[in-house]
């Protein structure tokens, strides 16, 4: 199985990532998710911090857990860090499988996992002031759906 996990400051190309993800195996189905910085109101920027080493290891472990639950041919996770502007893409999760339901479920599982377990922290700048984004109970609830 292809597993590609990257934490990076630069943006990514969906077309290039999908070409790489589907190069091996015979996936008929690819499900993706991208998260984008909100453009609402007074948000001027979002800065993302992570725990180098642990973050990549956690996401790779998540990808392997997904592959143990669903029949997957590949997983790509790219998470950006550093300063992002409204509208910028923050994260990509792409999952390839021979079954579309498996691709969708594994993609959603990985997003819920990223939101609740991967060590990233968001700091928002609004009107010249910065504050750390609080974790949301709804994300924990989403993750709890997947507990065995």
């Amino acid at each position: 199985m292809i597993v590609s996990v990257r934490v990076q400051t630069q943006d990514f190309s969906l077309d290039a990532e999908v070409a790489a993800l589907t190069a091996e195996g015979d996936p008929g189905a690819v499900a993706y998710f991208t998260g984008h910085v909100r453009k609402e109101g007074n948000l001027s920027s979002l800065t993302l911090e992570h725990y180098p080493g642990m973050t990549e290891a956690e996401i790779t472990r998540m990808a392997q857990e997904a592959a143990s639950r669903w029949p997957l041919t590949g997983v790509t996770v790219i998470h950006r860090v550093g300063r992002l502007a409204p509208g910028d893409r923050i994260v990509l999760v792409a999952v390839a499988s021979s079954h579309r339901r498996a691709a969708f479920e594994a993609c959603e599982f990985l997003m819920d996992y990223l939101k609740t377990s991967a060590p990233f922290w968001k700091e928002e700048a609004r009107n010249g002031e910065s504050h750390w984004v609080a974790a949301r109970a709804s994300d924990d609830a989403a993750m709890n759906r997947w507990r065995k």
Binding site: E49, Y51, W121, A135
Partner: protein
Amino acid sequence: MNLLYFAWLRQKIGKGEETMALPDGVASVADLIAHLKSLGPGYADAFAEDGRVRVAVNQKHSGLDAKVAADDEIAFFPPVTGG
């Protein structure tokens, strides 16, 4: 031991990383937090609400009762907000 602080813990404590000898009487994460709180107002503020702080021992999510040893990497951070 190597200690790491992220997000607002880093800001309150004023540094992101420090090396420390295993303090006397410290065997668990809870013991370590109690010790750190005694080191100054920044630490005391960072750990004021234990429930808001998460910990990883050697890059694995851990609880307050996890054991700590002299050569561990121990990271403290808020609940995560990526994705």
